[in-house]
Symmetry: C2
Subunit: 711 residues, 2 copies
Amino acid sequence: MKMSFSHLISQCSLLWLLLFLLAIVNAVPKSEEYKTYIIHMDHTHKPTSFLTHKSWHRSILKSLLSSPADDDKELLLYSYSHVMHGFSARLTPSQLAEIEESPAHLATFPGSTGKLMTTYSPKFLGLQQNFGIWPAASYGEDVIVGIIDSGIWPERESFNDEGMSPVPQRWKGECENGTAFSPSYCNRKLIGARSFSKGIRAKGHDISKGEEFDSARDFVGHGSHTASTAVGNYVPGVSHFGYARGTAVGVAPRAHLAVYKVGWLKGQVEAPDVLAGMEKAILDGVDIMSLSLNFHGQLPYFADVIARGSLSAVEKGIFVVCSAGNNYEFATVGNAAPWIATVGAGTLDRSFHATMTLGNGVPIEGTSYFPESVFITDIPLYHAKGNLSKAICNDKALDIKDVSGKVVLCDYSTNITTSQQIMEVQRAGAFAAIFLTDASFSLFAEEYSIPSLILPTASGTLVKEYVTKVRNPKVKDMRFVLTRYGTKPAPQVANYSSKGPSPVSPGVLKPDILAPGDDVVAAVAPTRPYIQVGKYNLSSDYQLMSGTSMATPHVAGVGALLKSIHPEWSPAAIRSAIMTTAYAEDNTGTVFKSQLLDLESASPLEFGAGHINPNKAMDPGLIYDMGLQDYIEFLCGLGYTKKEMSVILGQTQWSCSNKSIHDLNYPSFMAVLPTETRYPVTMKFSRVVTNVGNNKAVYRAYLENIPTGLR
Amino acid sequence: MKMSFSHLISQCSLLWLLLFLLAIVNAVPKSEEYKTYIIHMDHTHKPTSFLTHKSWHRSILKSLLSSPADDDKELLLYSYSHVMHGFSARLTPSQLAEIEESPAHLATFPGSTGKLMTTYSPKFLGLQQNFGIWPAASYGEDVIVGIIDSGIWPERESFNDEGMSPVPQRWKGECENGTAFSPSYCNRKLIGARSFSKGIRAKGHDISKGEEFDSARDFVGHGSHTASTAVGNYVPGVSHFGYARGTAVGVAPRAHLAVYKVGWLKGQVEAPDVLAGMEKAILDGVDIMSLSLNFHGQLPYFADVIARGSLSAVEKGIFVVCSAGNNYEFATVGNAAPWIATVGAGTLDRSFHATMTLGNGVPIEGTSYFPESVFITDIPLYHAKGNLSKAICNDKALDIKDVSGKVVLCDYSTNITTSQQIMEVQRAGAFAAIFLTDASFSLFAEEYSIPSLILPTASGTLVKEYVTKVRNPKVKDMRFVLTRYGTKPAPQVANYSSKGPSPVSPGVLKPDILAPGDDVVAAVAPTRPYIQVGKYNLSSDYQLMSGTSMATPHVAGVGALLKSIHPEWSPAAIRSAIMTTAYAEDNTGTVFKSQLLDLESASPLEFGAGHINPNKAMDPGLIYDMGLQDYIEFLCGLGYTKKEMSVILGQTQWSCSNKSIHDLNYPSFMAVLPTETRYPVTMKFSRVVTNVGNNKAVYRAYLENIPTGLR
């Protein structure tokens, strides 16, 4: 079944994107300092005398040493043969130069540093007991999800194995022994846990004490959060300091979890470690790989460790899901290779509130994340009328004599942020605060250091009128820790969610899909406090986190469910099912709004195919399937050199038929046109769809109006 | 089947109890002030011209008024015809005298004032899904439990009606309309809600504003707590500020709830209101009546409104459960009439902790109820060595310069309580505290105003050694909100649980039964904060409460389960089943320990028949049954006058066969002997047991050694 679409593109100005595609600079170190490199080798050059790649790599490094007494182990970080052929090592510039002279040398890349980017969301996704994809997929039973992240806090209830089926026989992974971690932590849920730290150590960081665990144990909490979001078991009564209370459960609660710790020291990630983690995951036999991490910048695929590692994984049938990044702006989307499912962050229809009753009996409700259920009654309300500096709670404008024991009202001003206002109100010793603001974003949950609520200036008018007219204005009561559902419009495209297009993949619309990423509650590590209130730091076992990092494991979980129902589906088929069944209308019946654009309509450059819809994804009817050869054709179409091709493919032989990159059999369509294009323009996209639905179905192609406002 | 037991009583000295039995004083007011009285009338004197008792009572009161224009409504509070015959009214001494001259007048009692005395406990009781009494009783389906208490907060999740069967057709109750309450709050769970406030109003209290709701809505939270403990629906993820987290569920989660609010203004209870509530409950058709309230003093039954009202209820087949009271001492047990199930409070095997690591790495765990999950790291540890006043944190002994930002260690001293110490530590501005104590009781949960933990002096030695030997002692970390299960020994008899014997009922061992009453987590009203930490008050939807008030609804719930399985059982049969299947050995295999007696062995005067054991209670084999005539014989045996008899019985005709009160067919045995008794003494007890088990069973009577240490 072959179909061909012609799309009339009305408006576009994406030429500038192509500028990003140009130079990759391999910076040469100035002195003889050791630095970390990832070296691609042409494995066909491996002498047959070496039984393993590793022994070959070692001998190469050994030959670099001036004295045989020197230990090559200090040079070699990891030897890779699945995510790529080659190794990572600490090398001086001259050692590197020596290696690069070898005919087996393919390419060198610096060991780049990346960063790591909870549980009403399954319900928001429509996942239900005994209905739809959950029972159809047996809740993900027998599927193995690999989480490449900051490790795991295994004692969290989300990782108990109640109701789990035994570890699949094909599983080859293991649980490591390390600092505060032992194989006994593994169970039917957590079936593997390994850490990869040679890269971070090579950077001179000490992970053996203090702010880290030298093991798969999670220090920062990020990995526990993403793992519990993807495959966490049922945990009733979870909350973020009382907010968002409910049963925490992952998207695929019966899937097995394999943990690969590559994130260290507050989220730092080194490329050699990520590659090593991905390699181990491939070897172990994961079905799904979830990476909530992004490297700085947008590198061409041959220079991008995640792109390279994930192509190997996809080749082995592993569905790879990655975060789009949290860079707010357009053209910042990362992890955008066409074999990766690239995930943007949407909001839930849930919001957090405080209520207040004014002295005149008028009830007010505003946004608040204040983490204690404080009980406030009959407190004077303070507003510095006429004194602008005080009225907007300017830095050092408030006087403790004025505000002590009072609720302070801070006016909206574009000269000062709510973050600065709350710091001033707290500094001055106020009892509580009300902030008026029209900014689309005001405070992070961690910033609510005193009891406070945020009101849009429109509803703040009521408060200002009251405080102005009454002699001794007061707040009759304030109550916190209130959670509301059904917030509209939802989902929205989160402010920070990295937007397309990707300069690296013209013709491929990225991100692919939107998933819940904003204010997700999931498990964290108990190693760090969440917020300081008064003189005490507070912590919680389950916490809110926001980011494309949180959206990614949702898609990994859906991938696990689909894999359970359709074990024969390729990674491309799984992504196609997810994308073609996505929706793009929010709960007001209109196209998603963009937080970055002050709630104007968002475009596919922000939400890709739309928001994930798991129950529909299990029966997509038609899929756009792809295999390695499709990606090879696409890479050829990008004009990569032979060397670049062999680096990204990890093989020296391939064939291309000079297809247009527009003809990559992708479930979405995108054209990049020069700015001086005269409209209308005709572009041709070829696609092959495969029927995975009812055998007797008849499909008819028709054209819906494409979204307006492409940017 | 008739059996006779002879018990050899080794030691006893209860004669002094009889002293309590003497005078009831009807205090005569000195002036012409209005006071509230409860007037018992001989209803056989009601002229047939009056169709209702109420119209008769009204005409009596009307006749007292000097001018017909005066409104008799101001005098009459309630007219009663089920809990008793008579009425309550506001009367001057001369009006009272006039009524008392009537031949229909039986007795007058002052309108006395009483007071009101969560959810691991069902599990502790052995209640399980799909095993034992829960499924056998269909979780209490179709049984109606009436809670006579401070009303209800209907929005609490415990009162949702998910999974509830329809309201029974026999139900005659209703939901009232009142302040912040409407009939729409009722559902299949909450099937009735009424408030009774004429008594409290007559005392001159205004319940229409401020600290009360003039409706069945609960202000103090006590009624919501007891109601959710008895019949609360499943609520996952409930906790007391993070402690005791779990699913809250009542003992009979499918039983219906009828609420009768008689507790007002921080727990004040007026006798006329209690009688009115009980009367309404009887009329409405409740199956179980639970009263977690006690009046001051121990009145003879004819003067005790609860005894009086509950005899009417029992006569109608209603199982009445009452709290023993929280008076700590022996011979203080209340609600001890032999037709009432009188409940003492036991502890659970659950405890609340904080952990700490000293600077030298030594881990310490102590008791703590501090309500915030504060995260404390690397704080100096302060101990005033050598200065006794400072070392024991004496009042005003500490200096902010010494303790600010530090963890203060307070030594044990019998000169100062932990309550006083924590106040001093907080006053001086310390960061956190450690208290050493050997007292059996140290702090209430509400007293943990700063992060602190309590250690027995034995384990405190480690801390003192460390603080003495090290130059700059510090606490490496402190963590709070830790719950432990399996605490030993458990259950214990709670310190405060009122103990027997009852001076009013010699020969009847009271309390009857022990049930979980200590640190029970259940629903409360959101009207009051729980604790102040720093400058903020904190509240929680579900909270810890302790008392025989909390034990009582557990027994009411078990009664509901038994009623569901054995609808034909009399109230005496239900209690017998509960008592004869109770256990008296704790989880160390020895007899329960008494907190009041510094964990020496407790006696049946503290725990009655033992601790309730619901799964066994459903199949007791034999029961000691009783009906109204048994209680009449018992009352005759107490030597009550004819008038007193007609007051308590509410009837003028009865017959007695001059049985010994020892022959009341009670499931427990007790003898009161004069101090000068020469031992050994032989006493004879007659009992009739009824086989409610397998028809073909053979029972053989045998004598176990009775517990030693009777007091």
